[in-house]
Amino acid sequence: MLPLLWLIPTLPLAGFLVLALSGKYLGHRSIAVIGTSSVALSALIAILIGIDFIAVPPPGFVFRQEAWIWIAVAGFSPGIGFYLDALSLVMVLVVTIISFLIHLYSTEFMTGDDGYARFFAYMNLFVGSMCILVLADNLLFLYLGWEGVGLCSYLLIGFWYRDSGNGRAARKAFIVTRIGDTAMALGLFLLFTHLGTLDIQSLMQRVTQQWPEGSELAILAAALLLGGAVGKSAQFPLQVWLPDAMAGPTPVSALMHAATMVTAGVYLIARTHVLFSLAPPVQLAVAVIGALTLLLAGFSALAQKDIKRVLAYSTISQIGYMFLALGVGAWSAAIFHLMTHAFFKALLFLSAGVVIMSLHEEHDIFRMGGLRKKLPVAFWTFLIGSASLAALPLVTAGFYSKDLILWQAWSSAGGNPWLWAAGWGGAILTGLYIFRVVFLVFFGEARAATPPDTRRPGLRITIPLIVLAAFSIVGGWIETPPFLGNLTLFSSFVQHALPPAQVVHDGKNDETILELLAMAASLGSIALAYLLFLRYPAFLHGLMLIPALARIRKFWHFGWGFDRFYEFLFVRPYLWLAYADRNDVIDNIYKMAISFTLRWLQKVDRHDVIDYIYSGLAELCLFLYRALSATQSGQVRRYAAAIAAGSIGIIFIGIFA
C-alpha cells in the first residue's frame, strides 16, 4: 500500500480541479459525491497505509517518495516529495478522517446554498493542501501546503462573499497568518544559506552536526520558524484572526480548528523539533507563548456571547496547551493532544452547527436555552465534546491528553511549576467556559426569539456526530498514566519520530498528586459553572453591576484589546499613508519641479536683465516662425514658383560667381 502515498493529497486536489472546472454543470448530488468521495478515498488509503505501516514497518520507520524535482538551481533542489513516518502518519490519519466526516456533514448542512460546488471545491483544496503540508519531505514543499492552507482559509472564511464583513474577516486571517509566513520564509532562507538544503531530515542532521546547542544561528532560525507557527496556529501575539474567522460556514470552522490550518504550527514545531531543542531560549518562548495564550484565550472565551466565538477562543487556548507541551519538550504529548482535540473540537463545532441551523442562524447563547429535549442529538454530542474539552476524568479523551501535558509541564527538563500552574489554571477556565455554554444553551428556560426547528437532522449529519463523539471518548484510551494501566501505545508508536520527554523532576507521588489536582480542577470547574450559570445566575448579574468588573468583562470580550491595539499601531497608519500617497509622491515631485521651473522662468521673464535677451530671442523666434509659416501657403503653384525662382537664382550664382 505504501507506494500509494502520493494519492492522499492528490485525490482531494483532483476533486478540487474537477469541481472547479465543471462544478457549474453538475447537480448537487454529483457534487456531493465527488467532493466527499475524493476525501473518503484518501482517508481510506491513509488507513490502509497506516495498517501496512504498523504491520510491516518500512526500514527505519520511514517511507519516502518523490514525484519530481520541483526547482533545481545550483545545489538548491527541493522536490515534490513525500515523507511518511510515525508523526506524519498520525497527522495524515487525523486530517483525512476528520475531514471526511466534516465533508459528509457538509453535504447535508450546505444543501441549497448556491455556491455548493464552490464550497466543496475549496474544502477539497483545503484538505489537499493540508495533506501536502503534513507529508512534505522538504520545507519548501511544506511551505506550499502551508500557504495553500492559508489561501483556503481565506476563501472559505469569505465564502459568503456578498457580505463585506466576511470579506474583512477573511482578509484579516490571510494577512495576519501571512505575517507569520514571511518570518517562516526568512527562516527557510537562513537555513538554506547556512546548511545548504531544505530537506527536513538532512536539515535536522546538519543542524546537529554544525550548530552547537544555543548557537545564535540556531536560535534565529528556530525563532523565525516559530513566527510562522505562531501565525498559523493563532498564538499570541498573532491570535487575533481566529475569532473573526467564524464568519465562514460552520463546517469550515470545524475543518479549520480540528483538522487543518491551526494545527499546522504545532506540526511544524514537532517536525523540526531537533532545531528547537538546539535553541533553548526559543523553546522556552514556545512554552511561555503557549501558557500565556491559553490563559488569555480562556478568559476571553468566558466573556463571549457568540457560541462559535467561544469555541474559537477555546481552540486558541487548546493550541496553547500544545505549544506548552512543545515548549517543554513533550513532543508526543503535544501531538496526542492535537489528535484528541481534533476529535472533540470537530464534534463541538458540528453539533453547534446543528444548534445554529435549527435556531435559524442564531449565534447568541443568551438567546438559546432549554434545547436539551428539543435537540437530543446535538445535546448529547455537544455534551460529550464539552466533557472531553473540560477533561472530565477517566471517561474522556481530553483528560488523558491534557493530563499528560500538565504532568510533563511539571516534570520534564524544560518544565517548571509556573508552567504547570498556568496549565492548571487554564484547565479550570476551560471547564468554566465550555460548561457555561452547555448550561446556557441546553438547560434552563428557552430564550430563543423563534421556536427551534426540531426536525431531526438527517443521517449525513448524525453519523459524523456519533463517530466523532465515540472518538472523543475512546480516543484517549491508547495512552494512560501509570496508575491507570500505563498504556503507552501512542507515545511508543510516535517515538520513532519524536523522542520521549526527559523526566527530571520525578518524585514518587508527584504524578498521582498532580493527576488528582487536575481531576479536581476539571470537576470543580464544571461544578462552579453549574452554580454560576444555571443555579445562581443572579449572583453573576450582581457582580456585573460593578463597573470595574463589567469593564474587565468587556475587555475580555474584545480579546484583551489586541484588535484595537493593532488597528491603531499598524492598520490605520498604513491606510492613512496609502491614501495620502495614492497619487504617488514621486510623480508629484516631478510635476511640481516642472511647474516650478516654468513659473520661475516666467518670473525671470518679467524682472530680470537677462530677460531681454530671452525675450528678444523669443520674439525673434516668433517673427521667424510667422515669416516662415507665411510661406507655407498651401498653394502648389506658389511652391512651384519658388522652386523656379530658386533654380534661376542658383543658375545665376553658378554663372557669375
Binding site: S629, S633, G634, Q635, V636, A640
Partner: protein, 112 residues
C-alpha cells in the same frame, strides 16, 4: 545602313545651340504653364512639356557627341514621366472626388 548615316549627318547638320534653344523655350513654356494655370490637368501637361524639354536637351547633346547616352536618358525620362503621370492622375482623381474641383489653389489645407 546608308539611310541611318544620312539621318545622323542631317541631325549633325543642325547646330547644337538651335536644339538647346528649342529645349529652353519649351522648358520656359512649361514653367510658365505650371505657374499661371490653375487647372491641375494643365499643370500636369506643363510638367510633361518640361520633362520633354529636358529630354530634348539630352538627345541634342547625345547627337552632338555621338554618344547613345542621350537617347538612353530620354528613354529613362519617358519612363519616369509615365510613372509621374500615373501618380499625378491618381492624385487628381482623388482630389476631384473629394473637393469636386480641379483648381490647384483650392487645395491649400497644408498651409502653415
Amino acid at each position: 545602313m546608308g539611310a541611318t548615316m544620312r539621318t545622323a549627318e542631317a541631325i549633325a547638320a543642325i547646330p547644337m545651340h538651335h536644339g538647346l534653344m528649342l529645349a529652353a523655350i519649351l522648358f520656359a513654356l512649361g514653367v510658365i504653364g505650371v505657374l499661371v494655370r490653375r487647372n491641375l490637368i494643365f499643370i500636369l501637361m506643363s510638367i510633361e512639356i518640361m520633362l520633354n524639354a529636358a529630354g530634348l536637351a539630352f538627345v541634342v547633346a547625345g547627337a552632338r557627341w555621338e554618344q547613345a547616352d542621350g537617347q538612353a536618358m530620354f528613354i529613362f525620362i519617358l519612363a519616369v514621366a509615365a510613372a509621374e503621370v500615373s501618380v499625378g492622375l491618381a492624385l487628381l482623381l482623388l482630389l476631384h472626388r473629394r473637393f469636386q474641383t480641379l483648381d490647384a489653389d483650392a487645395v491649400s489645407k497644408m498651409r502653415g
